[in-house]
C-alpha cells in the first residue's frame, strides 16, 4: 500500500484563496415582475432584492408602477410573470407565510375612524393572529413607538392627519414583521408630521428592520434609503446607492461661479482643467460640471484670478437623485 500523496501546504509565497464574504440574506427577492392591465403594461420586468436591515427606496413619478410593484411584493396582486420571495417563502406557493413577514402601511390611512386607535390596533392585531396578553403588549408597544400612547383611547376620527398617519404606521408594526412596506406615507401630510414620519422610519431602520419605501420625493429617498431603485414607466431603470447612481450617470457636482470680467477667457481656462466635465455660460455666471467639487474648487478660483475675473459668488451644487432621474429618463421626477 502506498502512502497517499501529501496535499501541498500553503506557504508564505502562495496566498490562501480569498473567501468571499457571505452575502447578507435577502428578506425580499423579486425577479422579472410583469403586470399588465388590459393593453397597458404597468410593470415590465422589475426585479430587486432587499437585504436584512436595509432600507430600499423605490423612487419614481406618479404612475411609474410603484404601487403595482409593491402590491405584487405584498401578495395583493398576482403578477403576470415573475416571482416574489419574502423571508424565504415564495409568494406564489406559500402566501400566508410570506405575508406574515410583511407589515404594510398603505398610502391612505387604512383604519376605521369610528374606532379608537387601540381598538383599531387590536382588530388588526387579531387578524395577525395575536391574542391575549401578547396582543395587548404589542399594541402598547407600537403606540409608544409612534407616540400615540396618550391618545390611544380616542376615536381615530378625532385625530389630526399626521396622527392618523402615525397610527397607520403602528398598525403595520404590530406583528413585528421582517419587512415594513410603506407606500408614499407622506403624501398630503403637513411638514411637521412629515418630518415625524421620516424620523420614525429612520429609527425603525436603525433598529434593523428592513424597509421598502416608495416615494416620488427625491429628498425622502436620499434621507432614508440605503439603496434606491429608480422606476419609470414600469421599468427599473437604475439601482444602487445614491453615490453609485450619481456616479453611474456621470452627473457630477456643479460649481456656479458668478463674476465680472472676461468670462469667456475664464471659461476656456476652466475647460482645460483636469476633472472638469463641461461648462455652461450664463448671464454673468459660468456653471462648471466637475467630478469632485472640493478637489476642483481651488483650481477654478486660480483660473478666475489668472484671467482677471472678479468673482462675486461661488456655489457648489451636488447632484441629487432628481438629476439622476432626469438624466436617465429625460423628464422631471415631479410635474
Amino acid at each position: 500500500m502506498t502512502a497517499p500523496a501529501e496535499t501541498p501546504a500553503a506557504t508564505e509565497d502562495v496566498p490562501a484563496p480569498a473567501v468571499p464574504p457571505a452575502a447578507p440574506a435577502a428578506v425580499v427577492a423579486c425577479r422579472g415582475l410583469v403586470k399588465a392591465f388590459g393593453a397597458r403594461t404597468a410593470v415590465d420586468g422589475v426585479g430587486f432584492s432587499i437585504a436584512r436591515g436595509e432600507t430600499y427606496g423605490l423612487l419614481g413619478p406618479n404612475g411609474a408602477g410603484k404601487t403595482t410593484t409593491i402590491s405584487m411584493v405584498c401578495g395583493l396582486l398576482a403578477p403576470d410573470a415573475g416571482e416574489v420571495t419574502v423571508a424565504g417563502h415564495p409568494m406564489a406557493g406559500a402566501a400566508l407565510a410570506a405575508k406574515a413577514a410583511i407589515g404594510l402601511v398603505p398610502q391612505d390611512v387604512a383604519l376605521y375612524d369610528d374606532l379608537t386607535a387601540r381598538e383599531n390596533l387590536r382588530f388588526f392585531g387579531k387578524l395577525q393572529l395575536l391574542r391575549g396578553g401578547s396582543l395587548g403588549t404589542r399594541v402598547d408597544a407600537v403606540l409608544d413607538v409612534v407616540g400615540l400612547a396618550d391618545r390611544a383611547d380616542d376615536l381615530l376620527g378625532t385625530y389630526s392627519g399626521g396622527m392618523k398617519r402615525r397610527a397607520n404606521i403602528a398598525a403595520g408594526l404590530l406583528h413585528e414583521p421582517q419587512l415594513l412596506v410603506l407606500d408614499e406615507p407622506t403624501v398630503g401630510v403637513d411638514p411637521q408630521s412629515r418630518n415625524a414620519i421620516l424620523e420614525s422610519v429612520e429609527a425603525l431602520g436603525a433598529e434593523g428592520l428592513s424597509v421598502l419605501y416608495t416615494t416620488h420625493y427625491m429628498e425622502e429617498a436620499e434621507r432614508l434609503c440605503d439603496r434606491v431603485g429608480i422606476i419609470d414607466e414600469g421599468r427599473l431603470v437604475a439601482e444602487g446607492t445614491r453615490r453609485e447612481l450619481i456616479t453611474r450617470v456621470g452627473a457630477g457636482d456643479r460649481i456656479d461661479v458668478t463674476g465680472t470680467g472676461d468670462l469667456d477667457a475664464f471659461t476656456a481656462r476652466v475647460d482645460a482643467l483636469d476633472g472638469v466635465l463641461g461648462t455652461e455660460a450664463r448671464a454673468g455666471a459660468v456653471a462648471i460640471r466637475v467630478h469632485d467639487a472640493p478637489a476642483a474648487l481651488a483650481p477654478v478660483v486660480h483660473a478666475a484670478e489668472d484671467t482677471g475675473v472678479s468673482v462675486t459668488g461661488i456655489e457648489v451644487v451636488e447632484p441629487d437623485l432628481e438629476d439622476v432621474f432626469l438624466h436617465l429618463t429625460g423628464k422631471a421626477l415631479r410635474d
Partner: protein, 383 residues
Amino acid sequence: MSTPALVIAGTELRRALRDRSLIITVVVGPIVLAAIISLALGSSSFEATIGVVDDDGSPLSSAFAAGLAGVDEDGLAFEAIDSVGAARRQVADGDVDAAIVVPSGFAASLAGTPAPLDVLTSSDAVIAGEVAQSVAGGFAARVDAGRLAAAATVLRGADAPSVDELAAIELPVTVDQRGTGDSVSPAAYFAPAMGLLFLFFAIGGIARSLLRERRTGVLDRMRVAPVTTTDILVGKAIFTFTAGLLGLLVIWAATHVALGADWGAPLGVVALIVAATLAITGIAGLIAAVAPTEQAADGLATGLALLFALVGGSFVPVEDLPDVFGALSLFSPNGLALRGFTELNSADASPVDVLPDVLALLAWAVVAGAVAARRLPHRLEAR
C-alpha cells in the same frame, strides 16, 4: 368558521352599534312608522253601518229590509232610514257608511223592466260601499231567480205568480260576514313591512362601506394579514345577517309589547325573519359586486328597496293593489315575507304554511349570494 371571519364580523357589529344612525334606520325608524300607521288605521276588524231605505213598501221590499235589520254580525249593522233624502244626508255626514235604496215601484217593475236598486256610497268608507253593493247585488240576484222561476212557470202553461205571491215566498236575506282569518292588524303587517324596507336601505351602507374599504386600503391591510378574501367576505356576510336578524327580532318584540302586534306563530315568524334576512344579505353582496362606485351602491340599494317595497306590498297591501301586483310581489323578498306573515295570521295557520315563502326567500339568498361570491373576490382584488 374561520376566526378571521368572526373577528371581522365582531368588529363590524361593534362599529354598527356605535353608529346611532344605523340603529335608527334599522330599528327605531320601522317601529315608529309601524306605530304611526297602526294608530292611523286603527283596529283591524271591519265595522260599518249601512242604511236601508224601503221606498217601495211592497211585501218583497219589506221582507228584504226586515231581513237586513235582523243581521247581527260583528262590526256590520243595517239601519232603517225613512227616505232617500235622509239616507243621502246620513251618508254625507258619515252617520252611516253607505245606504241601499229600494226605489218606489220596484216590485211592480219586476213584471216588466226591473227598476235598479240604488246604493249610496261615500269615498270615506269605500269598503262599506263595496259591502252594500254586494248585499244589494245578492238581493237582486235572488229576485232575478224568482223572475226566472215565474217565467218557467208561464212557459209550462201555468199562470205567472203575482208579485205578492212571489213576495210571500220567503227569500231569506242573509248576510254572513265570514272571516277567512286573512286579516292582519296594521301593526303586525306594517312592522315587518317597514322593517324589511329600512333593512334594504341599510344594506346600501353596508355595500358602500365594503367598496370604501377597498378604496382606502383597509381591505389590503386585511389581505396582507393571514386572511383570505373569503374570510373577509364571510365576515362581512355574518355581520350583515346578524345585524339584520337582530333588527327584525327587536322590531318583532317591540311591536308585540308596545302595539300588541301579533305576527303569528313564533316558529313561523322566526323562519320568515331568518329567511328574509338571508335574502337581504345575499342582495347586499350582489350590490357590492355589481356597483361600480360607493355612490352607485347607495343608489342601487335605495332603488331596489323602493321597488321591492312597492311591488311587495310594504306600503299598500298587495290585495288592495291591481291584480298584476299579486304576481309581481312573488318576485320581491318583501312580498314573499309579507305573504308569509299574512298567512301566519290565517285561521288554523301553522308554521308549515309559510314553507313555500321561506324556500323562495332562501332561493333569493342562494342566487344573489352565489353571484356575489363569484364576482366580489375579483372586484376586491382588482386594481
